[in-house]
Amino acid sequence: MNIVGGLKGIGRRVVNAVWRTGYGARFFLMTLLYSGMSFRRFRLTMREIFFSGVMSLIIILVAGMFVGMVLGLQGYETLKRYGSESALGSLVALSLVRELGPVLAALLFASRAGSAMTAEIGLMKATEQIDAMELMAVNPIARVVAPRFWAGVISMPLLAALFSAMGVFGGYVVGVVNIGVDEGSFWSQMQASVDFQHDILNGVIKSLVFGLAVTAIALFEGYDAPPTAEGVSGATTRTVVESSLAILMLDFILTAFMFQGA
């Protein structure tokens, strides 16, 4: 009897997981399908860019600055062993533009803006605002979900770029101003080693993919949240956990394709 019960439990979980994946895929396709309004009435998307992008600026800029400062300190210590302190600018810039900028900005975006999106949509559902919209003949996917989705996709590369820029500035402050690395070699090495297409463009592509993944997860979790306090809280937690794992997994896959053998 226990074995049968256990098998039933496993079966139910598998069926639920398959069902949820299908529902998530359908939700994502519907979001793309009903995206017209997000561009026709770009004011709606702009508003969401303000809430998810502009309101995330402080955390992104401060975190970028500190990460750049740490890179400056650690990079200098390591490069000094090989007498290559002058390459500090390259190390800081490449680390940020290729990897740390997109990944850390996306992780911060997931915890700050992603969780807020999930909670907002979950609460809209719990307080029947989504049902009300549907009964007013307004498609909630087009009116509520799609503008937030595109706002996330547009904001993410901009935030990642600002994170990297602030990080480079942090590295400059520690390496050049504080430690005394030659300013000319710091900037010229950076200019010589950072390639626009190979490094910057790939970093932008990464952050676009991360933005897409984080917002899609956040919006789906909010829309699928049970309409209770516990349901919304669980959905918010799932957004942060699933987004973080998705970012790290996608980062590995993208890095393998972009920089393999480079």
């Binding site: 609460l123 307080t127 605002q129 049902d131 009300a132 549907e134 007013m136 003949a137 307004v138 009116r143």
Partner: protein, 266 residues
């Protein structure tokens, strides 16, 4: 009675294998205010959701203005919903918008009216529910009764032919209760609309409605005018209308024998 705007014909509905509605037949004539009453969880709101096209019956159909709701495609359903208004139990106001933007929401979504005309219309709707002057407040700054009235203004924004109210009296103080009740009646008559009120507030709703359906356990057990209901000899209706503790609805939830569970044997 005049011709029906909404007809509910032999509607059956079940969640998984749990039946919720069992062969419901109802008729809502044009211009009338009809109440659906019953205990919480008896299937009243499910009937409204069928009329709004949110749920699809497992058997039977709902017809509005001659069209079967569940046979409409999304475009047809949305066209139908533009002629409906629904007041949700706690208003369901959009919390990120001001009172003005809430009332103007449908006008902006479904019409090309210039902002000056929308402004005038919003002010008229707010005036109709007695809340002119609250347009710049956020929903969080309103009392429960005020939020319900703002939601009512939003519901009638496009002068719908059918207005549905889901528990409009729940949680209101006596003054707000009377105000909302009067508004429902006056707006129905002024707009020439058809109204369906789902409620378990007997005294307030019997004062304003033209006809009542009593639902219990997913089926209609009584119907008639307010006077018919007050005079009804049906045991359930009597218990419900007069709020009696004893009757067909037991006080105790059906469960194991209490004495046996305590180990006390008579």
């Amino acid at each position: 009675m005049s011709a029906p705007l909404v007809e509910v014909c032999d509607v059956n509905f079940a969640y998984d294998s749990r039946p919720i509605l069992k062969g419901i037949n109802m008729s809502f004539p044009k211009g009338k205010l009809v109440a659906i009453m019953g205990l919480s969880g008896c299937g009243k709101t499910t009937i409204l959701r069928h009329i709004g096209g949110v749920l699809k019956p497992t058997k039977g159909y709902v017809k509005i203005d001659g069209k079967v709701v569940h046979e409409l495609d999304q475009q047809g359903l949305y066209a139908m919903r533009r002629k409906m208004g629904m007041l949700f139990q706690f208003g369901a106001l959009f919390t990120d918008m001001t009172v003005f933007d809430n009332v103007a929401f449908q006008m902006r979504e479904h019409t090309d009216l210039p902002e000056e005309i929308i402004r005038d219309l919003v002010m008229m709707k707010l005036h109709a529910v007695g809340l002119y002057g609250t347009q710049d407040l956020m929903p969080g700054e309103l009392s429960g009764g005020m939020a319900r009235r703002v939601a009512l203004a939003r519901t009638i924004a496009l002068d719908p032919m059918l207005i549905m109210y889901d528990e409009p009296f729940a949680g209101l103080d006596p003054i707000s209760l009377t105000v909302v009740g009067e508004l429902i009646r006056k707006l129905n008559d002024a707009l020439g609309a058809t109204s369906i009120v789902v409620t378990h507030d007997v005294q307030e709703s019997l004062k304003i409605v033209d006809y009542v359906y009593f639902v219990s356990n997913g089926a209609i057990i009584a119907e008639g005018s307010a006077d018919d209901i007050r005079a009804s000899g049906e045991a359930f209706v009597k218990q419900f209308v007069h709020g009696e503790m004893d009757g067909p609805i037991p006080f105790h939830y059906p469960g194991n024998d209490f004495n046996t569970d305590l180990g006390v044997h008579a």
